[in-house]
């Protein structure tokens, strides 16, 4: 290095790129999309080399500017949720940077806005979950009465898991108790005489918590060659499915005694 000053603000470019990747990974994007987005943003601001490695729990980014300075950062991903609207918006931002020349400040404020985006509040999600459970009951061949029971149990289960998540319980514990709750309502409602089919009601309620998102992303990661992310996501999905079913089956077995 000859002490030549670069006319690039590498630290802030790094901040913008890794922040975009963090938002995507926290909200349910596949690994390749995270890595690609970081690379696009870094290159749009003139970085000549971008190496990036993302796993479900962290992102490592290293950038090289034209003067030979290297900038690198590790972002740790602690809590992962599903919020696909944010993923889509960051994706759109990286597409926009290819066409339009946004200043770094504009990109950073836009990212801050995206991080705060909420598409549907809980007041909309709970009725949706109830409707979904009722639809599952119909799909599995339940009666209209059972579907009405599904509306109730689905709404309660979703409210319960959302509340537990807000309180900060561990993921697997949430799924265990969600499964237990599904089995409990599946036993209680037929006991009260409101519905007929106990097993259908339990399974339909359980479907609400099935790790479909993680499973799909795991497969897409494996298909794209991101083996570390793919296998760890597969493991996560099978743990979730097992704890969900275990919670339900345990309560059911106890109630059957």
């Amino acid at each position: 290095m000859d002490g030549k000053r670069s006319d690039m603000d590498g630290d802030r470019i790094l901040e913008a790129a890794s922040w975009a990747g963090k938002i995507m990974l926290e909200n349910g994007a596949e690994t390749y999309r995270v890595e690609q987005t970081i690379e696009y943003i870094a290159r749009a601001y003139g970085m000549v080399r971008c190496d990036c490695s993302a796993t479900p729990t962290m992102i490592i980014t290293s950038l090289l500017d034209p003067d030979g300075c290297t900038y690198s950062v590790i972002r740790r991903i602690k809590n992962r949720t599903t919020h696909l609207e944010r993923v889509e918006q960051v994706n759109r931002l990286s597409r926009t940077l290819v066409k339009e020349r946004w200043s770094l400040d504009k990109t950073l404020t836009e990212l801050e806005k995206i991080e705060q985006t909420v598409n549907y509040r809980l007041a909309i999600q709970i009725p949706a979950a109830a409707l979904g459970t009722a639809a599952f009951v119909m799909m599995f061949g339940g009666s209209w009465q059972d579907a009405a029971g599904g509306l109730l149990s689905g709404a309660l289960l979703y409210a319960l898991t959302a509340g537990m998540r807000k309180l900060g319980f561990g993921d697997l514990f949430i799924y265990l108790s969600g499964g237990a709750f599904a089995a409990f309502t599946g036993w209680l409602l037929p006991m009260l005489g409101w519905t007929q089919q106990s097993a259908i009601l339990t399974i339909s309620t359980l479907m609400l918590l099935v790790p479909g998102m993680i499973f799909t992303n795991a497969l897409r990661d494996v298909a794209g060659g991101d083996l570390v992310s793919g296998t760890s996501r597969l493991l996560e999905a099978s743990f979730i499915a097992a704890s969900l079913a275990l919670g339900a089956a345990f309560v059911r077995a106890v109630l059957l005694l």
Binding site: M1, G3, R5, M8, D9, D11, R12, G28, E30, Y32, R33, Y40, R43, A44, G46, T82, H83, L84, E85, R86, E88, N91, R95, L97, V98, S103, L104, V118, I124, Q125, A128, L131, G132, A135, M138, M139, F140, I203, L206, M207, L208, G212, M213, F215, T216, N217, L219, R220, A223, G224, G225, A242, L244, A245, L246, A249, F250, R252, A253, L256
Partner: protein, 165 residues
Amino acid sequence: MIIGIAAAAVVTVAFSIIFQVNKSHMPFAALNGALGYAIYLLLLPVNIYAGILAGSAAIALAGELMARWRRAPATLFLVAPLIPLVPGGDIYQSLLMLLTNNLSQTAHYLYLTLMKSGSIALGIIFVSSAFVLVRNFHARRRQLWQAGRKPIPSQPGRNKPQPKP
């Protein structure tokens, strides 16, 4: 059967809301869910695994095409439609049988779970790994295009690392 397909569409919409997918994409996701479940139901009399495989492959293909067309990540059109095919009942039954000490039934339901989720996996992997080709093609083209372009200027850094003397 019609009830089943309609229920699959409703389930897809419900999960799109839970996964926070934008409203404008939701009709397409619902259509995808109904399509995949219809294919599954049609092939069900032939072989259940063939039904699940074809259903998930159709959902993955339609999802990827919709993603290219709507210029949005494919996940939006893929995840919610796949939910109706997930074997949630079988894994519950297998653990219930395990806890009630019924080992042959446990093995049976565990086998069903693995076969069904394996069929879904195979369906997605077939299609997604074919679309990796498209993904790589776009990436290369974008990289070449970006290499010949002037970068967006950024102001000199506040905490720029000073070169060592």
